[in-house]
């Protein structure tokens, strides 16, 4: 085939190639940039695992029947960009209880085991995050009597105080997002000044398992 007469590699190719390879190796350095903890779909709780194995194929966003899986953005860090995260503004994660009998479809379709549930993992014992209720923005704390989040919680992780104001039981909350998805604090007239998100938001966990609260000191 005449392959023998072919030059192995020209000098120019070698130089360009070495440069390009160095760039790809250099990109690996993004690993050492600080990466914000972010909410992950069931099975993605080990952050390292998602970043290491996710090939950004976008399959989990597509398959999610409640459309709560969305791509992370550059704002969450370069390594997180285009990896899956959760957005509970429209719906919550029921572990595909309705769509697939409680077997999360995102884990089923993930081709690279970036989302991988450990043995015996269930909706109850997998902590996606923990809900944080910010009383300054919460309608109930203005004694309006709103209790949508309390009613929505499927894990009985919320209670009402003497004034019918809901609060979160941290040790029972697994971060499914049901409370966040029904919170009306932003929709029904922005009562609280400066409110840029709902009054109850699921916060991600850090690597050490502590919650990354926005308001509460942790």
């Amino acid at each position: 085939m005449g392959e023998s007469e072919r030059p192995g590699i020209t000098r120019r190719s070698a130089v360009v190639g070495a440069g390009a390879a160095a760039v790809v190796l250099g990109l690996g350095g993004f690993r050492f940039l600080p990466t914000e903890p972010t909410l992950r779909p069931p099975g993605g709780q080990a952050t390292d695992q998602v970043v290491s194995a996710c090939i950004r194929c976008e399959k989990c966003y597509e398959i999610c029947p409640r459309e709560v899986i969305v791509p992370s953005h550059i704002e969450a860090g370069i390594l997180n960009m285009r990896t899956p995260t959760l957005d509970f503004s429209g719906d919550y994660c029921d572990w595909c209880g309705e769509a697939n009998n409680g077997d999360p479809l995102c884990d089923k379709v993930c081709p690279t085991l970036a989302l991988r549930l450990p043995e015996g993992a269930s909706a109850k014992n997998t902590i996606i995050g923990v809900a944080e209720l910010y009383t300054t923005w919460c309608l109930a704390y203005k004694l309006i009597g709103c209790r949508f989040c309390y009613d929505a919680c499927p894990y009985e992780a919320m209670e009402l105080d003497g004034n019918n104001r809901p609060y979160v039981l941290n040790d029972r909350c697994n971060g499914c997002g049901a409370c966040e998805s029904v919170c009306v604090s932003l929709q029904s007239g922005s009562i609280a000044e400066g409110a840029d998100e709902r009054a109850i938001i699921v916060r991600p966990l850090r690597q050490d398992g502590s919650v990354l609260y926005r308001w509460k000191p942790s």
Partner: protein, 351 residues
């Protein structure tokens, strides 16, 4: 239908299908993992780097890898010309070109199909030639000779013995990607892969309009794509590690290779220095003379431009070498024919 339009249509259909996947819940995935629900073909580089990065063996990735290897052995780099969205995006380069004076459909089609724009003039000579056979053949030949040689198109000129090396920058990028994934523990090339970024761009735009999801990611993704696709003109042939992976495996590809029927080929049958198939090739392969070819046959993307360019339809890409009834030799016989061919052409040139 013109073969270039057909390729564009196929690539557009793939993009359309994937976009439908984005707005439904079928789970078609993108080209990174294309399929239905939990059955999907993985990008071979993605599959390799994810396993190197996460340091685990992923059964599904291994199976996908085997399937992809089989596909590459069967069809070589056909993905590059028929499915990949990047050559499609590269066509946009024509929009940004200052001298858009020559915008006959023929010229447009040659932009972006490969990295050689020098073939444009030769191609128009080819189209002249294909219209009828007898008298324009001479004119076409003369035209071709003058135009292409003045273009300094070294790839098809046997006296300029420059050849594409067996290794080129792509292979360094491939090696760098694998090493980088292993060292830093994540699929590094996925961050900048223009195929992945193309579909990320579509998804982000869909989400921008459907969910009001406004993010800097859109700017970053589009910027990276622009740099890679519009500024790095030779991305596909010089940088893309997937192209490197495919061309390495395509060395054993024997199916759908250009085969020439010596009875009808102008060069062997009538001793005419035709060379239109070589001129048509966007990868700078010379199907008539594989031995003298600038690029090895493993670079063939099965784009069918050579078959289309052949004025006597002597060139085909049969499933198996020599399986077609037209007495076609394999590319090997093309090579042997080439040993007769150059003599005749050199005689002519001397004359």
């Amino acid at each position: 239908m013109r073969i270039a339009s057909l390729r564009v249509l196929v690539a557009l259909a793939v993009i359309a299908l994937i976009t439908i996947g984005f707005v439904t819940n079928i789970g078609i995935g993108t080209l990174s993992s294309f399929g239905w629900s939990d059955i999907s073909i993985l990008c071979p580089l993605g599959a390799l780097t994810t396993m190197l990065g996460a340091k685990i063996l992923v059964p599904r990735a291994l199976i996908a890898l085997v399937i992809v290897v089989i596909l590459i052995v069967l069809v070589g780099r056909a993905f590059c010309s028929w499915v990949c969205p990047v050559p499609l995006l590269q066509k946009l380069r024509a929009v940004f070109r200052k001298d858009s004076k020559l915008t006959t459909p023929d010229e447009e089609s040659t932009v972006g199909t490969g990295d050689t724009d020098t073939t444009a003039t030769c191609r128009s000579a080819a189209s002249l030639k294909t219209q009828s056979t007898a008298p324009p053949r001479v004119a076409g030949k003369a035209e071709k000779a003058s135009l292409c040689h003045s273009n300094g198109d070294a790839s098809n000129c046997s006296s300029c013995a420059q050849k594409r090396g067996t290794l080129d920058p792509r292979h360094f990028v491939l090696g760098g990607s694998l090493l980088s994934a292993a060292l830093f523990g994540f699929p590094v090339f996925c961050l900048i892969c223009p195929i992945g970024l193309s579909f990320a761009a579509i998804l982000l735009v869909v989400r921008l309009f459907s969910e009001g999801d406004l993010t800097w990611s859109i700017v970053i993704v589009l910027l990276l794509l622009t740099v890679e696709v519009l500024i790095f003109r030779k991305w596909c042939s010089q940088i893309c590690p997937l192209s490197a992976f495919m061309s390495l495996l395509a060395k054993v590809n024997r199916t759908f290779r250009p085969a020439i029927n010596k009875a009808t080929c102008l060069e062997t049958a009538k001793g005419i220095d035709c060379g239109l198939c070589a001129k048509a090739c966007p990868e700078d392969i010379d199907p008539r003379h594989p031995k003298r070819s600038y690029a090895p046959m493993s670079e063939c993307t099965k784009c069918l431009e050579c078959a289309k360019a052949c004025p006597t339809k002597a060139l085909r890409l049969p499933f198996l070498p020599g399986s077609r009834a037209n007495g076609a030799g394999s590319d090997d016989s093309g090579g042997l024919g080439g040993s007769g061919g150059p003599n005749t052409s050199e005689q002519e040139r001397a004359a």
